[in-house]
């Protein structure tokens, strides 16, 4: 059962996600999570997980609010069907457009929770048989998918290598030798992961905005699309007409949800890939209606969320950038994902499932409707004020983790690196994955090779290891196929970061 505090954390996380989606559509969901990490690590594991689930599930689906209001997608996933959902909002009403995406998100979320429960329990059972050799291949799976998630393979490889190199600072995990510490005791513990995230995402966002003083950055206030009719009309459009449209398009919805679940299960391929593929399948129909494309995109995008958590919980391998950040939070809270989690902290696992269920069934419809009310009433907060608040939160957050002022030196260093990466069209996902998975990869490879006196064939000798190596090869082929397919139909996103 979820305690009152955990329920409150879930609600507050969901409300934060809602406000992010409606008031600050230009702020990436990952950044909004990174900014509250310094608060979350003060909570219990169950409360922190509930808050993150509330935030991530709501932030992703309310990302459509920006598309509905001003044709600005709040997330890369909603960019896949921005034109269509905006057209629906203009032609019918914002309430109907958001009702469509909320219904798709709610039902798609339920389908993906079913897969989360079955998938993570099943994979965790198999993972009990893993030694360091099998773990190596599992980590390689995360590495491969992280690299393929980047705009270009070379950029993915460089980003991952950079993140992993940053992760080697400090005491070597296998031999206990200090590396790249320059005899500074502060660096012995390595680069603090959450401070690195704050610098890479938060500071770089502010520096990036400073370098591009466009009207959208410097205080543009954009009025939202207005609702037609009163509260009764909003209720009818949102709770009756939108679900009826989903029912009429149930096969399209089901197909899009299954695409989302399947893509969510693959490490590294997240909600944006699923949204693009689902929306494009809908566009392939003869004379597709904008409602159909928007519905397919929203269902595909929101069905991946729980799927992304399956490799994270069962194997400790993040499904996308968001779950990589969540994995960092797990580490800070002392939670070790993987089979041991299902044995030693089964209560926590069930609380996570329950939080997902409540978030899908209760919070999404209610907060979705609240989003409609807000969308039709509130003007967005000017972006320069928002980014000022981001700067403040970065300073407070970087200090609050260890209460060490020296951590603040990482802000300009890694902030500038993040700024350069963004300016160069790199995504930060591979860098974050390098920071998270790098030490894991190094530890598992070192342990395997030390046990075998440096014999590389040890990585293929065990049958389970050989199967996992083949799965990695299959993953590479599948991601190459997805990449090609996406490249054919996906226009440039303009460097938008998940």
């Amino acid at each position: 059962m979820l305690g009152v505090d955990t329920l409150l954390a879930l609600l507050l996380g969901a409300l934060y996600g809602l406000l992010k989606g409606v008031l600050f559509p230009g702020i990436p969901a990952t950044l909004s999570l990174v900014l509250v990490l310094p608060i979350l690590i003060f909570l219990s594991p169950a409360e922190a997980c509930a808050a993150v689930i509330g935030l991530t599930t709501t932030a992703i689906f309310t990302g459509d609010a920006g598309s509905v209001m001003v044709r600005v997608p709040g997330t890369p996933a909603s960019a896949a069907y921005t034109e269509e959902i905006h057209e629906v909002a203009q032609r019918r009403s914002p309430a109907f457009a958001l009702g469509l995406s909320t219904t798709a998100a709610t039902l798609g979320g339920l389908i993906s929770i079913l897969f989360l429960v079955m998938g993570s329990l099943g994979i965790a059972q198999i993972a009990k048989l893993f030694s360091s050799v099998e773990n190596t291949w599992v980590v390689v799976m995360g590495v491969v998918s992280g690299i393929f998630g980047a705009p270009s393979l070379l950029k993915g490889i460089l980003g991952f290598a950079l993140g992993m190199l940053l992760g080697t600072v400090g005491v070597d995990p296998t031999f206990g030798i200090p590396r790249f510490t320059f005899d500074n005791p502060y660096l012995l513990g390595g680069i603090e992961f959450i401070v690195a995230l704050i610098a890479l995402f938060g500071i770089s966002e502010v520096l990036y905005a400073l370098s591009t003083p466009s009207p959208a950055v410097a205080g543009k206030k954009t009025g939202p699309a207005r609702a037609r009719g009163g509260l009764q009309s909003l209720l009818r459009e949102f709770f009756l007409e939108a679900p009826l449209t989903v029912w009429r398009e149930r096969w399209l919805f089901l197909r899009s949800s299954l695409i989302g679940v399947f893509i969510g299960l693959m490490p590294g391929a997240g909600s944006d890939t699923a949204a693009w593929i689902s929306a494009n399948f809908a566009r392939l129909r003869r004379n597709p209606k904008p409602e159909q494309v928007a519905l397919a995109g929203a269902a595909g995008s929101d069905s991946t969320i729980a799927g992304d958590w399956i490799p994270t919980l069962a194997l400790g391998i993040p499904g996308d950038t968001m779950t990589a950040v969540i994995l960092g939070m797990f580490m800070a809270l002392g939670i070790t994902p993987g089979p041991a989690l299902f044995k030693e902290q089964l209560d926590l696992v069930w609380q996570i499932y329950l939080a997902f269920f409540l978030s899908a069934v209760v919070f999404r419809p209610l907060l979705g409707f609240l989003a409609v009310v807000l969308v039709t009433q509130i003007t967005q907060i000017p972006r320069h004020l928002l980014l000022g608040a981001v700067s403040s939160l970065c300073i407070v957050g970087a200090y609050a983790i260890n209460r060490n002022a020296e951590d603040l030196f990482l802000l300009p260093l890694l902030g500038l690196l993040g700024f350069l990466l963004r300016k160069s069209g790199f995504t930060l996902g591979p860098v974050v994955l390098g920071l998270v998975l790098g030490p894991l990869l190094e530890r598992n490879v070192a342990m395997s090779l030390v046990k075998a006196n440096g014999d590389l064939t040890v990585l293929f000798n065990r049958p389970l290891a050989a199967v996992l190596a083949l799965l990695d090869a299959a993953l590479i082929v599948a991601l190459l196929y997805l990449r090609q397919r996406e490249a054919r139909v996906k226009p440039q996103l303009g460097g938008m970061e998940e």
């Binding site: 460089l158 080697t168 400073l210 003083p213 320069h384 002022a405 603040l408 190094e442």
Partner: protein
């Protein structure tokens, strides 16, 4: 596109520098058992960074986007603002013990908003709201001293 090439060239040079530094610094690390030791992964990663950034620089050079002057897609004063905030961030570790956590954070929030060309009235209001919120959340609720 050429503007992005210039940024990519600058980043590739940074990555090349990091790769070369890591390569030479890892040379001084003690060797371990067989091929595996503390320098094993840093050497591989340094090699990837050196090779990858060199390849990237070469392809950018072939496309003719290496001229740094082409990176000026924004007025020069925009880059002064980036430099001003970036320079100010280096002062944060010294300011924090002297001013305290919340005033330091509020100061940076107001500075960022002002550099983003916010009106003074808005910046002052932001400072006030941030001050109250950060004090309540971090000082009172989470007891971060």
């Amino acid at each position: 596109m050429q503007q992005q090439h210039a940024w990519e060239a600058a980043l590739a040079l940074v990555l090349l520098f990091l790769g070369l530094s890591a390569w030479f610094l890892s040379g001084s690390l003690p060797s371990g058992q067989g091929p595996i030791g503390p320098a094993f992964f840093p050497r591989i990663l340094a090699g990837i960074l050196i090779l990858g950034s060199t390849t990237h620089l070469f392809s950018l050079w072939q496309q003719g986007g290496l001229l740094l002057g082409r990176a000026r897609e924004a007025p020069l004063r925009a880059f002064w603002r980036v430099g001003a905030l970036w320079g100010a961030l280096w002062l944060a570790p010294w300011l924090l013990p002297k001013l305290g956590l919340v005033p330091t954070a509020v100061l940076y929030g107001m500075l960022s908003a002002a550099l983003l060309r916010g009106r003074w009235s808005e910046v002052l209001l932001l400072g006030l709201v941030l001050g109250v919120l950060l004090y309540l959340i971090f000082a009172e609720l989470l007891k971060v001293s």
